[in-house]
Symmetry: C2
Subunit: 338 residues, 2 copies
């Protein structure tokens, strides 16, 4: 049996290209005692992966050159030498961009096939949903009647943040990059307002109009000039969870703009970066809450699912074009018994 | 009896000048029932006053044009029509740059003449000491063995922050603007390291050498390029209380530099602006702790006291030259019974 893998061929400066990646094939390693051979079904592509492609200090180690790009995968057990897993089980792991993997028992976790489509375990019930849950509730702490602004609002994390903020009784304003996304946020997800930053000439004015009572929580996925504009509308004691700064990831030069210190002092505002791993001990709590809201119909999600292992790099590059709505992932194979 | 006052004559752009201020004289208003006539002894000049001279939204209302510049004053009761105050009492108030004031009972507070020199109630036992106490302990939360870096370290707030951090068992590194200040921090206040940013060509390297275990808490008084350099040395879960950004106050253009979001995400770091008023309910706790440390000899302070009401504007302008060590204030009159 052949395992297809995608390796990091070289470290990108600026936007990654096809040459950043290299496809290789190797024999699948047969599982030994305590190991499980799995076959990938859905592979996740996420913005944070861009950060791991460069060799700089960060919250996770950089990818090694000529090693497989790791990240979330939903997979099916093909062969088990462990009494914890059975052929046909569906599992989640972090082994990344490859069609097969021989996992140790501790490297994968069984998921419930009945609760929702399998792909949601990489999205709304997985990393992106939990990122929204902990970042918003632990740092943003939205109160009933407060105004929550979200950048990258139609993305996988942003769309969950807005819905959770609404569940908590906040007024929710999203910023996104197309009229289609704006319509999705307002009509499908019930955002109170949404702004297309690409067609808005004055973001400060647009935000002031959309947030007549100012901004209490700003969930920041993008950084850059969009965030500069939101910072002008902060209320006293505003909270700013920083989830990412996708606008800067592919910059070749420095990410330069207005320094934030004076604004933070004037508003007694808080800005805090985070990564999901900070909350690892509380994942069961977060997953349970997300699953319940999903079941109750309070939380909806959208996925953009591309097909085919060979399309993983292109799908990853799509993240930075801002064209996708919701969680972006790649379907690599059908589940056997579906 | 004549009251001398200093008014805001016009709003400065860039560094204030003598023309920013106007001296006027008026008759002292005799106290009515419930009022107290006081005579100023020490007048405080503080960096935050620069912010109030412009008409922009901030945590305190801007000064009105042609009104007295308000701020902390230690004064002596000249005549009391209140049963809460007696002639000769020493009080603290916020009525600002004038030689006399007719206060309502609620506008002034009696201070203990015995505990320490009267001037300390504007400094280490007053606004600056409390600012250090709450900003460091409530936001910075230094733990034993952690590294705390302080900019504007030889200033009134910074020098108190460093000493409190040492009381809490942290390693303390100060950044200041002269060799004299560096010597003061290391030899008088017991800082572990101090850096003269004016003679250091590479602040990043200097900080890396002074903080071999990285930076856990950065108490920021200055903003600007000094802070940019400190941000390169942050540890995971670092905390950054933002007390002020004196480097930017007199800028005519925008305060532009590297955006901070990516750093905050990579380090799961927290940055929070604050002003002392946020902690008003807890002033008694802070004052008691500061007084105790002072009495125990764990906390020392330095003051730069200029003489003469007419020198208040020049002394205020000295703040931005960075020449003073410790708390800067102006002695306006001797206490009667000293």
């Amino acid at each position: 049996m052949i395992n297809q893998q995608i390796l990091l061929a070289n470290r990108p400066t600026g936007t990654p290209t096809k040459q950043t990646f290299k496809f290789v094939e190797s024999d699948v390693k047969q599982p030994e005692q305590g190991e499980i051979l799995v076959r990938s079904l859905y592979v996740s592509v996420d913005p944070y992966m861009r950060g791991r492609m460069v060799d700089a200090p960060s919250y996770v180690a950089p990818y090694e050159l000529n090693e497989v790009i790791t990240g979330g995968v939903v997979a099916e057990v093909v062969e088990s030498q462990s009494d914890k897993f059975t052929k046909g089980d569906v599992v989640i792991g972090s082994y990344g961009w490859q069609t097969h993997y021989t996992a140790k028992e501790t490297e994968i976790r069984k998921i419930d096939k009945e609760i929702a489509p399998l792909s949601t375990h990489l999205g709304i019930l997985g990393m992106t949903g939990l990122t929204a849950y902990f970042g918003l509730l632990e740092i943003g702490k939205p109160q009933e009647g407060e105004t929550v602004v979200i950048s990258g609002a139609a993305g996988a994390v942003g769309s969950a943040v807005g819905q959770i903020a609404r569940i908590k009784g906040a007024r929710v304003v999203g910023i996104a990059g197309s009229d289609e996304k704006v319509q999705y946020l307002k009509e499908e997800l019930g955002f109170d307002e949404a702004i297309n930053y690409k067609t808005t000439t004055n973001m400060v004015d647009a935000l002031a109009a959309a947030c007549p009572n100012g901004v209490d929580v700003y969930f920041d996925n993008v950084g850059g000039e969009i965030s500069d504009a939101v910072h002008t509308q902060l209320n006293r004691f505003a909270r700013i969870p920083i989830c990412g700064a996708i606008s800067s990831y592919n910059l070749k030069g420095e990410d330069v703009g207005p320094r934030i210190q004076t604004t933070l002092v004037k508003k007694s505002a808080l800005m805090q970066g985070f990564t999901l791993g900070n909350y690892a001990e509380r994942f069961p709590e977060g997953s349970a809450a997300l699953a319940q809201w999903l079941t109750e119909g309070k939380l909806s999600y959208q996925e953009t699912i591309k097909e085919g292992f060979e399309n993983i790099p292109d799908t990853f590059l799509d993240l930075f074009k801002g064209t996708n709505i919701g969680k972006l992932l790649v379907k690599v194979a059908d589940v056997t018994n579906e």
